[in-house]
Symmetry: C2
Subunit: 238 residues, 2 copies
């Protein structure tokens, strides 16, 4: 793949750009401390993320109509509050904790890498997060997106093809002019199946220390493999 | 209206942020010079813009299905090339001239004002221009949008309510937390009818020197009236 054939980089966000696990745990700690709760917030974060794919599957399967991720997250949160025996919260407190997903911190290389990449490429999110979540996260974290695309504007959750196809269509680009950047091989495989180019940026700490994928994908599976976003900028000449 | 009640500013773009008339004339001059064409490009720009509302009316009325602005612009361009007796162009040359709308220049105060406003508010386009047009224009002109919303993602052309309502919904905001910024009273009137707040920024040179609206709207018609985007930033405390 020649970098000059690429016009836009489309990004997976949770896990690829931001560290959801330690950010949700941090948000939970602060929330719990203010209320005298004793909770293992790392386990809580992992359990919350564990309900992510099953919740989207309800929409992907057509069993329920389009529902944005903020709403899926909130339903999962209510389930987990019961499971973790956290009671007596006001609706507004649950809303606030749910918006922890709007306050995730980027990996240390993310902003410096994106700033360099932005000088040469269009940068768009192609996440399952809804628009408000992505906009609020970007404002807080300084993520310099040119625009927010992905699941909500496409009306389909990745890895369904419509999420990738509609995002490229909105950019007015050929699919092969879009480079999907993700830490998750299944996301990249679905993007490649639609005709997008792919960049794999492993995030070995996504699930915590010592929890890296047992077998790393082969290099030849992707157009680009980069250590982090600064390395990606180096390789893409920006 | 208290500035602290506002979370997002949504912007009309053609005429409000960018000077379509002199930019299209400039693009036309360069295009014509390279091909030895003698055309009054200011008149051409005005004629092209003159076909804008009638083209969108076909979609608004339901007489034709959703068609993005790039495609409406191109149909109008083909009509005008015949009218101005410009012949012998290749399809790729017509495509290139059509993309002049992606290369419009901002009014001089636009970028400095937006940079200040961005520090405090979410900035989104709420234009009838399609996403690719808005993204490409912003990259070239340095317009620091947080995201691109408006007609294409809503599937409706302003002043139809759906354009405003869907944009606010995607931002996850109450309508009264959104401030619509425009140089056109009819756009602001439609936004206010949906429940958005309004900021009127007159652009007396939009249609050329000496062509300002004969009667300026009354100040009380809008929540804010600003001379330009720097004045808007002053008034909104950012």
């Amino acid at each position: 793949m020649k970098p000059e054939s690429i016009k836009a980089l489309t990004f997976d966000v949770f896990g690829t750009v931001v560290d959801w696990r330690s950010s949700i745990a941090r948000e939970g700690e602060a929330f719990g401390r203010a209320r005298g709760l004793t909770v293992d917030w790392v386990r809580f974060a992992e359990a919350w993320r564990g309900l992510y794919q099953p919740a989207m599957d309800e929409v992907r399967s057509g069993r329920r109509p389009w529902t944005k991720l903020d709403d899926l997250h909130r339903e999962s949160l209510v389930t987990l509050l019961a499971e973790f025996k956290i009671t007596g919260l006001k609706e507004s407190e649950i809303d606030d904790l749910n918006r922890a997903w709007h306050r995730l911190d980027p990996w240390p290389d993310a902003v410096p890498g994106l700033v360099r990449l932005k000088s040469r490429y269009i940068l768009a999110t192609l996440s399952n997060g809804n628009v408000a979540l992505m906009v609020n996260m970007a404002k807080r974290a300084g993520l310099p997106w040119d625009t927010i695309l992905g699941a909500e504007v496409a009306g389909a959750y990745k890895p369904q093809p419509k999420a990738y196809l509609r995002s490229a269509e909105l950019l007015g680009l050929q699919l092969s002019e879009c480079l999907m950047v993700a830490a998750h091989p299944n996301d990249l495989k679905a993007a490649a199946g639609c005709g997008l180019r792919t960049a794999y940026v492993p995030r070995p700490l996504e699930h915590g220390p010592g929890k890296a994928a047992a077998s790393a994908p082969a290099k030849g599976d992707f157009d680009v493999v980069a250590r982090d976003f600064v390395d990606l900028a180096d390789q893409l000449g920006s």
